[in-house]
């Protein structure tokens, strides 16, 4: 439950704090805009934490037991990624459930597509976290990754503010941010408000997820404890 505090804080503080300004600027209901971003945020942070937990787990946790078992490490990596992604999905669904009484209205018929994008984000970032966790051996390096990679990726993804009308530099950077395609996929599916489009979002996420899973599996298979 602790991991849900962060997204809820963002949702309440930004949603109600900035809602009026957003509405007065003629952009509509900020909760409807913000909710998919917060759902994506929950998925990303939960996924990356599960992945990076490899650092601790391989030294003092159950992972060490699996590393000496006669099981292919590719299977361990995939199992771990799917496990982490499932946890992230459950947390994201809880946040989705909380956004509804707060005023988030979405197209229920498009919910399966929204869930698909949430799942892709979850798999991509758990695999990324596991890959990072397989390379670094130091928990302090984890803070650096959070501060210099994941946080900028989140703030520059369009999760918190609309991309249309923002600066050219921001929109240029957005094209190179994998999370932007995930956020746009979730938001577009649920509210119909796409910045890119569904096929492009799906293509980018599927290709990136496959690449990261492949690289991650290669690195994980050589992991030392």
């Amino acid at each position: 439950m602790g991991s849900l505090c962060h997204p809820l804080l963002f949702l309440v503080a930004l949603g109600f704090g900035m809602g009026d300004i957003y509405e007065r600027a003629g952009e509509g209901d900020y909760i409807i805009f913000l909710s998919p971003g917060i759902i994506a945020m929950t998925t990303v942070f939960s996924s990356i934490f599960t992945g990076v937990d490899v650092i601790w787990d391989r030294k003092f946790g159950f992972l060490k037991e699996t590393l000496v078992a006669p099981v292919s490490r590719l299977k361990i990596m995939l199992g771990r990624t799917l496990g982490g992604a499932t946890t992230a999905m459950i947390q994201a669904l809880i946040v989705l459930g909380i956004t509804i009484p707060l005023g988030f209205e979405f197209n229920w018929l498009m919910l399966p597509f929204g869930l698909l994008f949430m799942l892709l984000i979850a798999i991509l970032f758990t695999a990324l976290g596991t890959t990072i966790g397989s390379v670094i051996k130091d928990l302090q390096a984890f803070h650096l990754i959070m501060n210099f990679v994941v946080m900028p990726m989140f703030f520059l993804s369009g999760a918190l503010f609309p991309v249309n009308g923002s600066s050219d530099i921001f929109r240029y950077i957005l094209h190179f941010n994998p999370l932007a395609y995930g956020v746009d996929g979730v938001r577009g599916s649920l509210t119909g408000d796409f910045y890119f489009n569904m096929p492009l979002n799906l293509t980018v996420l599927v290709i990136l997820t496959s690449i990261i899973l492949f690289i991650g599996s290669c690195i994980f298979s050589r992991i030392e404890a």
Binding site: F60, E65, V68, P70, K137, D138, L139
Partner: protein
């Protein structure tokens, strides 16, 4: 010989943890690998159990090279780690069950084997409890039971009885000795309890600062050093000075994890 190590070395940047060591272990024997803190015991076990790759040297484990054929090598051994490796969120039974699945133990016999081992380490009464509620000694007993579950040909025990009372130590060693005799399981263990090593081991190798300084039966080591006990022989061979060991990577991680938690 079920384990044969030839000129094995492991370097971490400029630090040589294991320095050109060679020794072998006979099939069905109990072998103690002794040394002061930071001598290279755990590093050697990690290399043998495929958790670390050696910098140089050759290893043969039950007839195969664990570097080239890790999966086959992993089938031949079981290990009880020095640091905990249980899933705290699972129950004692579930931890055992997961181990059984990883080692492909048929479902038919798995439940009965788990029960037998948990009864043996006197944890059957709490087999439905989450491991996070267990004391350190109970976790250790569970880890030992888990290591024995798939009846490995080689059993690595890294400080297996650390933190256990004499009764439990005696109980566990009796079981291991019995398994060793009945199933010809080779036991490779490290310990700081030299009485235990003297009583259990048929052969001992002593490692210090990454090098093997001597090997032989407990009797041979005592005779060679003209000492009455293995502990005295050990001190004579490795010196009286306490090793100034900088915190290990594991120690640093424990500290960082505590800081992260708070």
């Amino acid at each position: 010989m079920i384990i044969r190590i030839t000129n094995l070395s492991k370097k971490f940047n400029d630090f040589t943890a294991v320095d050109d060591i060679s020794f072998s272990v006979e099939k069905g024997s109990i072998f103690a690998f002794l040394g002061p803190n930071g001598a290279g015991k755990t590093t050697t076990i990690k290399i043998l159990t495929t958790l670390l790759r050696p910098s140089s040297g050759k290893i043969s484990l039950d007839g195969c090279d664990p570097v080239k054929n890790a999966k086959r090598a992993r089938r031949s051994f079981g290990i009880v780690f020095q640091d905990p490796s249980l899933d705290d969120e699972l129950t004692a039974f579930e931890n055992m069950e997961l181990h059984g699945v990883l080692y492909g133990i048929p479902k038919k016999i798995l439940g009965e084997n788990i029960r037998e081992l948990l009864e043996f380490v006197e944890l059957w009464g709490r087999h439905k409890e989450q491991v996070k509620n267990f004391s350190g000694g109970m976790k250790r007993r569970l880890e030992i039971a888990r290591g024995l579950l798939h009846h490995p040909r080689i059993l690595f025990l890294d400080e297996p009885t650390l933190g256990l009372d004499p009764q439990t130590r005696y109980h566990i060693w009796s079981y291991i000795k019995n398994m060793n005799q009945k199933e010809q399981t080779t036991v490779f263990f490290t310990t700081h309890n030299l009485d235990e090593a003297e009583r259990m081991a048929e052969k001992i190798a002593i490692i210090d600062e990454g090098k093997i300084i001597t090997q032989g039966s407990p009797q041979q080591l005592k005779e060679a050093t003209k000492m009455g006990s293995l502990e005295e022989a050990f001190i004579k061979l490795t010196g009286h000075h306490i090793r100034e060991q900088s915190p290990s990577h594991s120690d640093k991680m424990r500290r960082q994890h505590q800081l992260l938690k708070h």
